[in-house]
Amino acid sequence: MAKAKEQTSATIDPVAACAPEWTDILRQMVLIRRFEEATEREFRKGRIGGYLHVYSGQEAVASGIITALQKDDIVFTGYRDHAHALALGTEPRRIMAELFGKATGVSKGKGGSMHLFDVEHGFYGGYGIVGGHLTLAAGAAYALRYRQTERIAVCYFGDGAMNIGSFHEAMNMAGLWGKAGMCPILFIIENNGYAMGTSVERHSALTDLSARVRAYNIPTEKVDGQDVFAVRGVADRVVRQIRETGTPYCIEAVTYRFSGHGAADILQPYRSKDEVEQHRHRDPIGILRNRLGEICNLTDDDVKTIEEWASGEVAAAVQFAEESAAPDAGELWRDVVAEQGPARENE
C-alpha cells in the first residue's frame, strides 16, 4: 500500500509568505467568495436557473492547488465548479453569463452552473454525475504522457464521490498506469464532511477516506483545507513530483462548505447552526488575511481595497451577464456532433 502523510501544517517562511503572490491569492479567494455570494443572490432573484452549488468556505482548496500549476496543466472537477474556473483565470463575466444562460457564457449558455468549461485556460469541465469525471481525468492524464508532454492533470472530487464505482475504477487504472509513469494526475479530495446531507460517518464504512486511495497504490497526504499556506505548500512539492515521475498522487483537503449543498438546501437538517458557526471561525479568507496582517503588514485599508475591487469585478460580471443576449435558436442544434470540417486539435 502506498504511503500516507499526516495532516500537514504550514511551515511559513516569512520572506516567501510576503511575496506579492500571496496577496494575489488573497485577491483570488475574495473574488471567489464575492462571486459565489452574487450567484446566490441572483439565484434568489430567479435570474439563475437549474441547480446552483457554491464554493464558499472551500476557497483555499481551489486556490492553493491551482496557483501551484503551470499554465498548460488541466483541471477536472464536479459540479461545484465556479471557483476552479475563476482560479484558472476564466473571466468572471463569462462564468456569470453562463449561469445566466447567455450566449456570452463560457459554454455558450448550454452548460450552466454545473458544466463550466474553458479549454483555453485548461479547464476541462464541471461534470454533473457524481464521480463520473474521475475516469475522464485519469484518461486525460494518460494522454498528456502519451503525447510526451510535461503537463499534469488535476482532478477534484468530494468525499461523496468516493462510494461510487467510477471512483474505484479510476483510482485502480490511475494506480496501474502510474506504475509505468503514464498517469501524471493529482487527485484532490475536497472533504467537506458531507455527501450532500450525509456525513462521512454515515456514508463511508471507512472514514479514513484517503486510505481507500492508498489501496490503489496512490500515495496520499492529508492537509488542512482551510489554510491556503498548507495547501499550497503541499501542492508545490507534489505537483513537481507528479510532473517528474508521471505517477498519481492524492491530497485529501479537509474543508467545510458554509452554504447549503445547493441553493435549494435551505433547512440543512443534517447539521446544526452551531456547527456552521464554529467553522466560520476558520474561514480560509480570514486565516490568510490574518496571517498576512501578522507577518507582512497587510493593513485593513489593503484588505478594503481588495474587497472593493472584488465587489466591482462581480458587479461588472452580473451586469455583463444581464445585458448579454440569450443564445440564438440555431445554437440549439449546434455542437451535438462535430460540424463538417477538419478535426479540432484538442490541444
Partner: protein
C-alpha cells in the same frame, strides 16, 4: 433603499406565500433581524433584513402568494421616505400578482413559442364548430390504403364504388387499378348542370409537403392568411322576381340575402374544401354547414350563425336571420349564436356598395362580399336588354382554397342564383 424580494429557494420554485410579518411599516429593523415568514412548496422560513433601516411599505400582506423576484417590502435607509402607498387593485403590480397555475403554464408555452420562433400561422383559435362529436355513419367509411386513395384521386374513381380485397375489406391499389365503372362515365356537360353532391363528413386531410410549402410561402408573403379575391357578376333577374312572388304570399317576407345564404350553403355541399378550416397539421373539412352573417351593431361587427343552412328553407333562414339580427342589435346574442361558423357572408348591398372585398373570418377559409343589385344593359341574343346584376366577391384563404376551386365554387353558386328555382326545391 433596498427591496426585499420573494427569494427563489428551490430549483423549481416559482412563487412563495407570505405567512406573517414580524415587523410593520415604519418599524426600525436591524441587519439579520427576521422580518417575515414565508412558505414555499418545501419549507417555511424567515427572511432577514439585509441592512439596517426602517421598514417601508409592505407590498404583500400575510396570506398572499408572490412570484419569485416579486417585491415584499422595502427597507429605507436614514432620511429616505416611503413611496406613496398604492392601494391594492385588480391591476396590482405584477410582482404582487397571485399566480394561478394556468397562468404559469401560459407563460411557459409563450416562452416556448418564442424560442422556436413560430412562423406557421395559427388560425384555428375557436374550436366551437369542431368540438361537437362527429356522428359516426353506421356503415363506417371504407378502409383503403394510402396508395389506393391516391390512385383513386388521380383516376377520378370514387372509393365508395370499389370493392376492397385486402384484410377487413381494405381497398388496395390493385382494386382501384382493376376497377371498371358500372355505368358510363359521368357527363361532362357545362354549367348549369351540377356535379354530384358529395356525402359530407367531418374529416381531416393531412397536409402534403406541397400544401405545407404553399401555405408557408404564401403566409410569409402576405400575413397570417394569404388572401386572394375572385369576383363574379351574376344575373339575378330571376331571383328578384322569385322573391317578389314569394313575398306576395301572406306572412312571408324574405330578403335577397336570405336566398344568397341558402345558395351559398347549397354550393358548399359541392365543394367541401371551401367549408373548411386550416390547421398546422391538417385541413379540416366540416361535416356541417354553418353560415355566419356579418351584422353591424353600434359596438361593431358581429357574425351570428345560421346553423345547417343547407338544410333550411329560404323562409326558415329568413326568420332566423331576422331574429339573430334583432338579438345582435339588442346585445342579446349568446356565444352559441355567433360561434362556430364554417363560412361567412357580408352584404353591403343595402348601403349601395357595388363591389367590395371582405376579410376572411377565421377559422373560415372564405367569405362572400355581396354588392348591390342594379339594373344593367346586357346583350342577350344580340339584343340589348335590361337585366338585374349583382357582383359577388369571394375572398379565399389560399392555403386551403386554390384559384380553380374558388372559381368552381362561384360557378356552382351561379347555377343556384341564376336558376333560383333550385333554391326552393
Amino acid at each position: 433603499m433596498a427591496d426585499i424580494i420573494m427569494p427563489k429557494m428551490g430549483d423549481a420554485m416559482t412563487e412563495g406565500k407570505v405567512v406573517r410579518w414580524y415587523k410593520k411599516s415604519g418599524d426600525a429593523v436591524k441587519k439579520g433581524e427576521p422580518l417575515l415568514e414565508i412558505e414555499t412548496d418545501k419549507v417555511n422560513l424567515d427572511l432577514e433584513a439585509e441592512q439596517d433601516g426602517t421598514l417601508g411599505n409592505v407590498a404583500a400582506e400575510a396570506g398572499q402568494m408572490v412570484e419569485v423576484g416579486g417585491v415584499l417590502a422595502t427597507i429605507l435607509g436614514a432620511g429616505e421616505k416611503a413611496a406613496p402607498r398604492q392601494e391594492p387593485s385588480a391591476e396590482a403590480a405584477p410582482a404582487r400578482r397571485a399566480i394561478d397555475k394556468k397562468d404559469s403554464i401560459k407563460k411557459s408555452t409563450g416562452e416556448y413559442a418564442e424560442a422556436i420562433d413560430m412562423k406557421a400561422p395559427r388560425i384555428d383559435r375557436t374550436a366551437a364548430a369542431s368540438s361537437e362529436p362527429v356522428p359516426q355513419d353506421a356503415g363506417g367509411r371504407k378502409r383503403s390504403s394510402p396508395l389506393a386513395r391516391k390512385m383513386a384521386r388521380e383516376m377520378g374513381v370514387t372509393l365508395e364504388q370499389v370493392q376492397g380485397s385486402g384484410p377487413g375489406g381494405r381497398i388496395v391499389a390493385n382494386d382501384v387499378k382493376n376497377f371498371k365503372p358500372a355505368a358510363a362515365s359521368p357527363q361532362k356537360a357545362k354549367t348549369p348542370s351540377l356535379p354530384p353532391i358529395q356525402k359530407l363528413e367531418t374529416k381531416e386531410i393531412p397536409l402534403s409537403a406541397m400544401r405545407r410549402t404553399i401555405a408557408r410561402r404564401l403566409a410569409e408573403s402576405t400575413g397570417p392568411i394569404p388572401h386572394f379575391y375572385l369576383t363574379a357578376d351574376y344575373d339575378v333577374t330571376n331571383l328578384l322576381s322569385l322573391r317578389e312572388q314569394l313575398n306576395e304570399i301572406e306572412g312571408i317576407k324574405t330578403s335577397v340575402n336570405d336566398f344568397i345564404v341558402r345558395a351559398a350553403a347549397l354550393a358548399l355541399r359541392h365543394h367541401p374544401n371551401v367549408n373548411a378550416s386550416w390547421g398546422d397539421e391538417a385541413i379540416k373539412q366540416h361535416g356541417e354547414i354553418h353560415i355566419g352573417i356579418a351584422v353591424s351593431t353600434p359596438e361593431g361587427l358581429i357574425t351570428p350563425v345560421v346553423r345547417n343552412a343547407d338544410q333550411k328553407s329560404v323562409t326558415d333562414i329568413s326568420n332566423e336571420v331576422r331574429s339573430l339580427a334583432d338579438k345582435a342589435k339588442n346585445r342579446k346574442l349568446t356565444p352559441n349564436d355567433y360561434q362556430g361558423s364554417t363560412f361567412t357572408i357580408s352584404n353591403l348591398g343595402a348601403w349601395g356598395i357595388e363591389q367590395f372585398t371582405a376579410i376572411i373570418n377565421p377559422p373560415n377559409v372564405a367569405i362572400l362580399a355581396i354588392g348591390a343589385t342594379s339594373a344593367q344593359p346586357v346583350v342577350v341574343d344580340r339584343q340589348v336588354v335590361i337585366r338585374d346584376r349583382m357582383k359577388v366577391t369571394m375572398s379565399c384563404d389560399h392555403r386551403v382554397v386554390d384559384g380553380a376551386l374558388g372559381a368552381e365554387y362561384l360557378r356552382t353558386l351561379r347555377s343556384y342564383l341564376e336558376q333560383p328555382v333550385r333554391l326552393v326545391l
